[in-house]
Subunit: 253 residues, 2 copies
């Protein structure tokens, strides 16, 4: 058996998410079925660093693959890309997996970007890549509110009902909000996130951006630990997993 | 009658181009049929600054509209966006057209961007938005070659056989090539371009980027005025019309 780390890009639009579900096509299934060609016809189980939801994209997902064929990493990348066509999934790089490495449990950082298209006209070129918010957002106020959420907290107020994590304690390392022309871009980084945490944070920050709530409000929602007090869950299409960090960096070649 | 200038974004992927053709859906048709709702049910003829080809995108196309309804420009924008759904066409802004103004003939500058995704793995997130070139490109050599094409020349070597312009004399104001991570981005600006001119320039510059030809070669192709000597026509999906300039700037509100 040979172990590999894979760096993966995908358009989340046509998928039920990273993980296999009862119904619908997952990114995991596309890649596992492609990997069967390198594993004596048997689809191996792949584990990813971030179990992105339906519609959520990835520029830098990392997943783990074990196959019977002992191939140079670039051959693995090429074969997976060949066999995963025509789905919008692309293996950017493959690396030998270090001994004892886990794509999920060895990860020490995950980073996401959330794009809001903040203009009157609906998106044409960025359809499916942004959350379209027509009402003008005050990005500076959103950024100010976001800074009060940094550090280690019980993020119960921002977790999905379906979240399976035992504890809601997380350490938010970065939550930046910046305006870039017609876009408001939120950048989030943490060792790990709860289910829907980034989308719930974004949905809460826009309440501040709209001026409905003061910049201090998201922090009071956090302290209240009550999901019902937070803002809406921002839609999946604006979210992209940009990268995963490991204590021992992988050699992507 | 009331005249308007429209600033338009579209995904060229599903269209036969800006202009109506014998078969297939054009951006022009989508907008003209939407505008019929503001013109007593009759689709008015719309003229655009850039007659983009099938598959070519626009972030800043400018078109001209004359309708019977005398409405505030923002009402025109909202109505066109409502009636052009669900096509990936979006009117970003509308402005009153100045007296005697022509979207096409009053334009004093047109700018395009061409994106090349220069990596081994095929595009997933940018599928349909980039030309995927696997072999490594030397963007600095391409930029050097491009600078020798600036100024007023007979661009016969870079025009399509179907080009209807009477003269091939054009003045190329800007042709920059820069690497941005995995992307090589070409930026072109001129008062006007010949049919396929930008795509033929890009297809010729990549020959230099691959090291097959020296940086002086595109200039010798230009001087030869022979289309058969130039490189391939780069595919449409990497091209986007980024903006149109007028001597008298439009008031987009």
């Amino acid at each position: 058996m040979a172990g590999y780390a894979l760096l993966i890009e995908y358009d989340g639009g046509p998928f039920v998410g990273w993980q296999r579900q009862g119904q619908g096509l997952s990114v995991q299934q596309v890649l596992e079925e492609a990997a069967a060609h390198l594993n004596a016809g048997v689809a191996p189980t792949m584990i990813a660093a971030g179990r992105t939801d339906a519609g959520v994209h990835a520029e830098g997902q990392v997943a783990q693959l074990e196959i019977t064929a002992d191939l140079p990493p670039e051959r693995v990348r090429e074969a997976l890309n060949f066999h995963s066509r025509p789905h919008p999934v692309s293996v950017l790089a493959a690396a030998p997996a270090p001994e004892g490495w886990s794509a999920r449990f060895s990860a020490t950082g995950r980073a996401y970007r959330y794009r809001i298209l903040n203009r009157r006209a609906r998106p044409a070129l960025d359809l499916g890549r942004v959350w379209h918010v027509q009402r003008r957002l005050d990005a500076a106020a959103m950024h100010e509110a976001a800074q009060m959420l940094l550090g280690q907290h019980d993020f119960s107020a921002f977790r999905a009902a379906a979240c399976q994590a035992k504890s809601a304690l997380r350490t938010l390392d970065r939550l930046d909000v910046a305006r870039l022309g017609d876009e408001v871009v939120v950048t989030a980084a943490a060792r790990s996130f709860l289910h829907h945490q980034v989308r719930n944070l974004v949905g809460t920050l826009v309440e501040v951006g709209w001026g409905r709530r003061p910049a201090s409000w998201p922090r009071s929602v956090l302290d209240g630990r009550d999901r019902a007090r937070a803002g809406q869950t921002a839609p999946p299409e604006g979210l992209v997993l940009t990268g995963v960090r490991y204590a021992e960096p992988l050699d992507w070649g």
